[in-house]
Structure formats: C-alpha cells, structure tokens
Amino acid sequence: MPESRGCIQGPRDEHRIVFYGLSTCIWCRRTRQYPPLPPPYTGGGRGGGLGVTFEYAYVDLLHEQEQEEVLAQVRRWNPSVSFPTIVVDDVQCVVGYRPEELQEVLGL
C-alpha cells in the first residue's frame, strides 16, 4: 500500500502537479501507471508512468482533520469530490482516468 502523502520525482518537472486519489481505486492506480506496464503488472507501482514530478495524497489514508483539509482542496476543483482529481499548476484540473487529456494539459 502506498504512503498517504508524498512527492514523486521524475525527469520532467515543468509543471506543478498534485494528484488526489484513493489507495483502493483502480482508476487512480491506472492513472499513475499510464502508460501501462505489460501484464502481469504488480499494481501499486510508485513510478509515474509519464515521468513527471508530482505530489500525491491518498485521501482515504488521511486522518480526520488532514482529510478534511485535503478534501477542501479537492472540492475547489471538483465539487463532486471524485477520484482521481489532478490539479496542474493551480490553474487546470483533470478528473478521472483521462490519460490523453492529462498529457495534453501537460504538453506531452
């Protein structure tokens, strides 16, 4: 299982990316692993498939007060509070497993 919060360093760091997800959510996992590893993949892999630096928070692993604070950030961008929610440079947001849209936003 992943840590509740952290930062992954990748070779690409042009953007400030914040990934909000659930540790149990397969679509969140797929988003982080895009492009996918060949099967059988082990799941829970730490490396961002796109090679970008990003901060992450697994909201389900946070304790009450911290969870409320992080949920307030998610709600600002995505009022339905669904996951994954990915905020880019504090100006754009991609909701759900949308790797192509995410790549476009990141200019990859």
């Binding site: 397969i26 909201v59 949308r98």
Partner: protein, 172 residues
C-alpha cells in the same frame, strides 16, 4: 482506522469466486479483465476491514454506514451505469456486450448525487401515495436492482440481487 491493511491473496480469490458466481446467477457479469477485478476485490476487502462493510473502492467512504449505504457494493447506481455505459463506476460489473467484447470498459462520470441529495438522506420523507386509495400492503423497492414486493417489511435479502434489507425504500 486508516492504517495499512494487507489482504492475503487467497481471500481475494475466494471473494472473487463468490462475487462471480452470485453475479452470473442473477444475470450480472463481472469485468472479464482478471487482474483489474482482483484489484477491485482487494479494495472491497480493505474497505470491509476499515469500515465494516464493502464500500466502493473508487469512492471515498465516510465510515458511517448509514451515510455510505448507497455506495456499498453493489451500489445503488450499478444497474443504471451498466445499462447506459456498459460498466459500473469502478467497472467491477459490466454489461453483456462488454463481456462479449463488443463494447469497451471506460471510466464514467459519477452518478451519485452530491452530499445532501442522496436517497438515504431523503428517507425521512416517505413519498406521497399518488391516489386516495392506499394499497393493502406497503410496497418496497430495492434501490440496487429495482425489485418490488408488497409485504409488511422488506425481505432480509433481495431475492434478485442479494442486497440487504436496509437497501430497500418504501415505494408506495
């Protein structure tokens, strides 16, 4: 409540088998992608340990069983999502076309209403009977699959989709 939980793979396989059999027996289908489903089943088991019930692995549960009632798997939104999109929100359940390979699994928009507008939050207001004449027995509706029955109390388990009694609402 949120510490690390490791689920033994035999437990994942056992629940996988059980869900698959139950689904097929009632006309539902699990996603044919095995590793994908194993991940979801693991999430269900993690949530069961965390909260005491198998809430959707792709939605944030509160830990309050009454508030989370609509997202306990199978969720209240499964049937409508499978019908419209070919899979439910987390994609554990799929339509027959997906099973046959005629349609692809896709991430879908959240059908669950925002907080404050969910069925279990509106339960305090029973619907007004449409006519003046009341039926001789109350009619209960399963919020998961839509099964209706007229009897004093809803059944302990839905005979169609196996949802528990608390998933029934007064229909008439």
């Amino acid at each position: 409540m949120n510490e690390e939980i490791a689920i033994p793979s035999e437990k994942v396989d056992a629940l996988y088998e059980q869900l698959d059999q139950e689904a097929e027996a009632s006309g539902y289908h699990l996603n044919p992608e095995r590793e994908f489903v194993r991940g979801l089943v693991e999430g269900l088991l993690i949530n069961e340990q965390r909260y005491g019930y198998r809430s959707c692995p792709c939605r944030l549960a509160t830990g309050d069983g009454q508030k989370d009632l609509d997202i306990i798997c199978p969720c209240d939104y499964r049937d409508a999502d499978v019908l419209e999109w070919g899979n439910c929100y987390c994609a554990l359940y799929v339509s027959e076309q997906v099973l046959r390979g005629e349609r692809k699994v896709q991430p879908i928009l959240e059908r669950r209403p925002p907080e404050g507008q969910r069925a279990q939050e509106l339960l305090a207001r029973p619907p007004e009977p449409p006519g003046e004449e009341l039926p001789p027995l109350p009619v209960w509706r399963c919020r998961v699959c839509g099964y209706l029955c007229a009897r004093e109390k809803p059944p302990a388990v839905c005979p169609i989709c196996k949802a528990k009694q608390e998933r029934f609402e007064r229909f008439w």
